[in-house]
């Protein structure tokens, strides 16, 4: 998760004026997405306006990505050993991620295979990969649909980036990441919330009102996803394949799906 809590305080010196920049980033993102969705609802959005808003969104996207990458780069430097207890974060769900990250701070051991660092790294890389694919073209087989579906359309994108979730310990981390994500009130959720909004660039055809989002509701997702177990399940992968186009490693899907579902209280 991109942290806005404890961890970020550590690095604030590096960023200088980071919080002001962040709040502007957030506003620009909010406003841009709002305009983007409003324009989608129009029959014929102004092309100049659409291009400018889209370019701004891309810029925000790349800034966020740079942020995430720099954070994950910092984290990999601070390799720490950490008890890989899934229960650990659960003990204080409202404390958000602070327990995890405070341990980061305390233990500066250079353990490359440490759980937490890998968790964070995998999470950051997951986010980065998601962000990369926010530009990906979604199959035009998905018809125009209401803009509320847009956030979840990024789920469809996941089929194409699954290679980004590549650590060996992914399956073991699934549960801990799941519990990390279990805090609806996290400020991190807000960030991820926004990050995972599908910034769809394939909206420029005025002749065809293409909102290339996929009509997936959270309920649908729940239906198709098995309970979040580590066991690979042919049925679940096949049901996902029925929506997507590529094969998955189920654990990778599971934990990312869970993040999405937890951070989206509703479709």
């Amino acid at each position: 998760m991109v942290a806005k809590g404890q961890k970020r305080k550590l690095h604030r010196e590096d960023e200088g004026g980071g919080s002001a920049w962040e709040s502007q980033l957030q506003s620009v993102l909010d406003i841009s997405m709002d305009k983007f969705h409003r324009d989608q609802a129009l029959v014929e959005p102004c092309l100049l306006r659409s291009v400018l808003i889209n370019n701004t969104l891309r810029q925000v996207q790349s800034e966020v990505r740079a942020q995430v990458e720099s954070l994950s780069a910092v984290k990999t430097k601070n390799q720490i050993g950490l008890l890989p207890e899934p229960s650990f974060p659960r003990s204080s769900p409202s404390a958000e991620h602070t327990p995890l990250f405070s341990l980061n701070n305390e233990n500066m051991e250079d353990d490359f295979m440490a759980w937490t660092s890998e968790e964070d790294f995998s999470l950051s890389s997951a986010i980065s990969a998601i962000l990369k694919d926010l530009d990906t073209v979604i199959d035009a087989s998905q018809g125009p649909c209401a803009s509320q579906r847009a956030p979840l359309s990024s789920v469809e994108n996941l089929t194409q980036y699954q290679s980004g979730l590549r650590t060996e310990r992914m399956s073991d981390m699934a549960s801990s990441i799941k519990t990390e994500a279990m805090c609806p009130g996290c400020p991190q959720d807000v960030a991820l919330d926004k990050l995972l909004l599908d910034i769809d660039t394939s909206v420029f055809e005025p002749e065809v009102n293409l909102l290339q989002g996929f009509s997936v509701t959270a309920d649908d997702l729940a239906k198709y996803l098995p309970s979040l177990s580590k066991s690979a399940s042919a049925s679940s992968s096949s049901s996902l394949v029925s929506h997507g186009q590529a094969t998955w490693e189920i654990q990778e899907i599971e934990h990312v799906m869970d993040i999405l579902m937890r951070t989206y209280p509703q479709s």
């Binding site: 502007q24 506003s27 305009k35 014929e44 092309l47 370019n55 810029q59 394939s202």
Partner: protein, 443 residues
């Protein structure tokens, strides 16, 4: 010297004539013809109103030729594109006059999709004495006609009629933002977001595409064309501006499709000013050649720039129109004001440039003295024939008596369209649905 008198008078001596209020419709374009005798305005309702300057009268020397309504006509009607289920707005985006070649006047007017050539002509005689019908038009009973006569032309009250002579349609998929008449007086170009088409004024069923920046995959689109204009003297040269703040100069002799530019004008971004809005505010909303053809002027959200055609790396001059808005870009993005497209104009001698701003303010910059002035087009704040008072926006804490603070600016009152008489110091300023005409003070 004309230039010196310009600069002397520029700051404090603009008289105000009447204030013409067009009926509830927002003016979308203003243009003087090549002699300055006529002034055309187009509005959102698709109408064109043409004003004519009255002859200067010896009896009333203080009333230098004022502009009166000469002709009004409905240029474009709202249309419906059945194929795409889209309504096509009738709003007049641009008007350009053709040079006068006979007693009639010709202008091109365009909405989002169709360009029309209108002929405006006067009629002050009419035939009288028809054989088969009465003067009021009723058919005469043939049995009552006993003699044959030749109808004669008799004077009548002046009637100005506008007739559409050509309709140039079905050539643009995207919205037309500019038209420009070539100096050869035979061709003109129409520009939409992605393409520029060249037309012959006589031929309506065919146009040539000379610029096409549409990518094969529309998802890759990151830049659109925002304005284009022919060079005032070289009929093979034109420029077009983009949403990324660049201007391309093209030569039609080089190839049929001018996708490759001959010159590329772009100023490198100032890293200290970089923000999320850098690209949006760099989008060029208007581009105008100087009358001499040596310079180019561009307007982006916060500045006006003058470029030398021989120097592509950076502009010759940069003028800050309303730099106090730089810290408000986020709110202006939110309320969409950041997308406002301001135009800019040269005076006849290319020594002064003018552009609009918010709160019904407009700005003039003297290129020689480097002085600038902010004036307001408002009925409340100045009386007819009174000299306009320069305005000032205060940015700091202490506001002087006549200053306006940035926060009390009215962003709904924007001056997007202005025009300058080709040879005299007469300007037309469109403030929403009002047209203001200002002249130099008569000494």
């Amino acid at each position: 010297m004309e230039e010196e008198s310009d600069s002397r008078k520029i700051n404090n001596s603009f008289l105000r004539d009447h204030n013409y209020a067009t009926e509830a419709d927002i003016i979308s374009t203003v243009e003087f013809n090549s002699t300055g005798e006529l002034l055309a305005t187009g509005d959102k309702g698709g109408r064109v109103v043409v004003f004519q300057r009255e002859q200067e009268s010896k009896n009333q020397p203080h009333r230098r030729g004022e502009y009166n309504v000469y002709s009004t006509f409905q240029s474009h009607e709202p249309e419906f594109d059945y194929l795409k289920s889209l309504e096509i707005e009738e709003k007049i985006n641009k008007i350009r006059w053709l040079p006068q070649q006979n007693a009639a006047y010709f202008l091109l007017s365009t909405n989002d999709k169709t360009v029309k050539l209108w002929k405006i002509s006067e009629r002050d005689k009419r035939p009288e004495g028809y054989n088969l019908k009465d003067e009021d038009g009723r058919i005469r009973d043939p049995t009552t006609i006993t003699s044959l006569r030749v109808p004669v032309l008799r004077p009548m009250d002046l009637m100005v009629e506008a007739t559409p002579r050509r309709v140039f349609s079905n050539a643009h998929t995207y919205h037309i933002n500019s038209i420009s008449v070539n100096s050869d007086y035979e061709t003109f170009m129409s520009t939409d977001d992605l393409r520029i088409n060249l037309w012959n004024l006589e031929i309506t069923n065919r146009s040539f595409n000379i610029v096409d920046i549409k990518p094969a995959n529309m998802e890759e689109l990151t830049e659109v064309i925002t304005a284009a204009e022919f060079h005032p003297h070289q009929c093979n040269t034109f420029v077009y501006s983009s949403s990324k703040g660049s201007i391309r100069l093209c030569d039609m002799r080089a190839s049929a499709l001018c996708d490759n530019h001959s010159k590329f004008f772009e100023e490198p971004e100032d890293p200290s000013n970089r923000s999320f809005f850098s690209e949006i505010i760099s989008s060029i909303s208007d581009v105008k050649f100087s009358h001499s053809g040596r310079y180019l002027m561009t307007r982006d959200y916060l500045t006006v720039k003058v470029w030398d055609l021989n120097m592509e790396s950076k502009p010759l001059e940069t003028y800050q129109v309303h730099d106090y808005l730089r810290s408000k870009l986020c709110s202006l993005y939110e309320n969409d004001c950041i997308f406002d497209k301001f135009e800019c104009v040269w005076n006849g001698s290319d020594s002064v440039i003018m552009t609009g701003s918010y709160n019904n303010f407009f700005r003039m910059f003297d290129r020689n003295t480097k002085r600038d002035v902010t004036l307001e087009a408002s009925r409340e704040n100045s009386k007819p024939r009174a000299i306009l008072k320069p305005r000032k926006v205060c940015v700091g804490g202490k506001r002087r008596k006549d200053e306006i603070s940035v926060d009390s600016l009215d962003f709904s009152k924007k001056i997007l369209h202005t025009a300058w008489h080709p040879s005299e110091n007469i300007i037309a300023v469109a403030a929403t649905n009002n047209l203001y005409i200002f002249q130099d003070k008569v000494n």
